[in-house]
Symmetry: C2
Subunit: 345 residues, 2 copies
DNA sequence: ATGAAAGCGCTAACAA
DNA sequence: TTGTTAGCGCTTTCAT
């Protein structure tokens, strides 16, 4: 069907291995006479020979391929859902993989009946698992993986300390936000959190908030933690009752955006009456009026470094897994300003 | 290293081929005694045997893998650049590929020195090439491909009619926009176009505009085509000189968004003074004030159908390539309204 | 119902 | 400097 080494060898009147050496070996190791080498190269060109990369990989017992899982398990990665989170992370992963001469495949459909076969059929040399939730099923799948797995958005401890992990520094990030507000004169600062399930990262952010506030001698009271997890209406009732705070840190941009959109309806001006900080610095931050100040995760970097950890895990299987915590940034936009001095009327 | 068929065979006291039949064959074709089959299954379970998918693929001379190229050639796909175009298309491609039990890999780094080796080393069973520009280099690469290639965002004729193509119906899409404006009473409608290089699709949209306007007995004059290709400042000078039009169709959303943002500075209200229609219905359309009415490409569908064409090309290599033209939609938002009756003051 | 042989394309190890 | 052997893991073909 396709032109193989053997065909080239026949034409060049040498054995296949010589062709392999001439065409594929590093220049240094090659011990072939110039004349033969030239003959081989000509033959290859004439036949338009190309290696079969999978034959080579099969022989070398490697795939030169990384897989990406995301979310709850074997739902396929979606680029266009939600914010650009996953897209940016993927950019980092792909960039890193290419840097190491690896390809990236999107978590494949499985040829068998069980989705988890995809991580056990030798398809990949390594996996990046993104935004995994620590359910029993996921832990079981993780344990079944036959290749190194780097987990993004998790701390190693959540998974038995067996896998390298990459996560943003939620503690430091929230600190950036709190300090920013403090410097603007804010002392009455609330934290708002939502979400159906307990989200590990949101929890970490809340804890960080409490800690950083305490550092400023402003330990938050219970009423300073506004939990709209069960009832999104709680958000509206908070806004309609003259918020006692001058600033709001929100666990994620989506909720912060709603606040910015709803606030005017309740006579609350952002940032004059209420400063708002989100988390993730999603692209829509710039489009909001006012634009949303937000803490940014180094998503590209996270994906990128994940591949480095994977390479290390592939080449040194028995090394202790690294837990990589990367610093956040603060993108100051229009939704934060000096604290108001008076009560809302 | 890993458990193979042979290991299972030894434990079950049968030959490897029997194991293969029991574990992998369709139920019907299997001619193995129940007792043996059971023994094999037990052995496999005991050893925790998993197929090596690449050995199977290698043997079958297929990869069950599709590749995606985008842009000018071998720049790697970027998910987070520009609008969500590529992300949505990818979602369609991935969905389609999975539906056919194929994986999708992002255009890989090349193990050799020449990037284009990636399309000739048998890495993929098929390729989706997105947003290709018809340069000589790209034509050459296309010709060198050893697997079927489906081109997205192109017409078959641009590439010698040799490859299946998928494109949105720019003509019909622009027609939706023109008709929408016409029904709102607009008669003075301009078309705005930009971009460094000649963009085939933008050109097609411009031509469609002329044609649809003529259909309404409103053939556009030269002054109704505002070309800001060379000079983005031309946009501002257009806005500052009391536009004689009541509506503007723009070749793409990005430029339309700028108009919406700049217009107020020149005392032009959208849509009261000037209705604006974009193209692509990008997600930021909703965030603009007013939200941007825009023509939408069926991007997910385009990616999805591209994989169908690829499957067909893989299974029937000699079939005539299909040219798929998928209809656009019109997302009416706030930036279009009834035509103003008076001149701008 | 089961098994033996053979080979996909490539390259490491060893031999000449 | 060149060639031979051998095998990666799997499955099709043909024989028993």
């Amino acid at each position: 069907m396709s032109v193989t080494l053997k065909d080239v060898a026949k034409l060049a009147q040498v054995s296949p291995i010589v062709v392999s050496r001439v065409l594929h070996n590093k220049a240094e190791g090659v011990r072939v006479s110039d004349a033969t080498a030239e003959r081989v190269r000509q033959a290859a060109a004439e036949l338009n020979y190309k290696v079969n990369i999978w034959a080579r990989n099969f022989r070398a017992q490697q795939t030169m391929m990384l897989g990406v899982l995301n979310g709850m398990g074997f739902d396929r990665p979606r680029f266009n859902d939600g914010p650009r989170y996953f897209a940016t992370l993927m950019d980092g992963i792909v960039d890193g993989a290419f840097r190491h001469s690896y390809s990236v495949a999107l978590c494949p459909q499985l040829l068998g009946d069980d989705p988890s076969e995809a991580v056990t059929d030798g398809r990949f040399d390594g996996l990046v698992w993104y935004s995994i939730t620590p359910t029993d099923a996921n832990r079981a799948t993780l344990a079944a993986c036959r290749c190194p797995v780097v987990i993004v958005h998790a701390l190693s401890g959540q998974y038995g300390g067996k896998h390298p992990t990459v996560i943003c520094d939620n503690f430091q990030g929230i600190g950036l936000g709190v300090d920013h507000l403090y410097e603007l004169g804010h002392r009455k600062i609330a934290f708002m959190i939502e979400g159906d399930a307990m989200n590990v990262e949101s929890e970490a952010r809340l804890a960080a908030f409490k800690s950083h506030m305490a550092r400023h001698d402003l330990p938050p009271a219970e009423t300073d933690i506004i939990d709209v997890r069960k009832d999104r209406e709680a958000l509206k009732s908070y806004l309609s009752n003259k918020p006692p705070h001058t600033a709001l840190m929100v666990h994620a941009d989506g909720l912060a955006a709603d606040i910015i959109r709803f606030a005017p309806k309740y006579g609350i001006r952002v940032p004059e009456d209420l400063s708002v900080i989100g988390f993730d610095s999603t692209e829509f931050c710039d489009e909001l009026k006012p634009a949303l100040t937000s803490i940014s995760q180094p998503l590209f970097e996270m994906g990128n470094r994940a591949t480095d950890l994977l390479m290390k895990a592939i080449s040194e299987p028995n090394i202790d897994p690294v837990e990589l915590v990367l610093p956040c940034g603060l993108d100051v936009r229009g939704s934060t300003g000096p604290a108001r001095q008076t009560e809302l009327s």
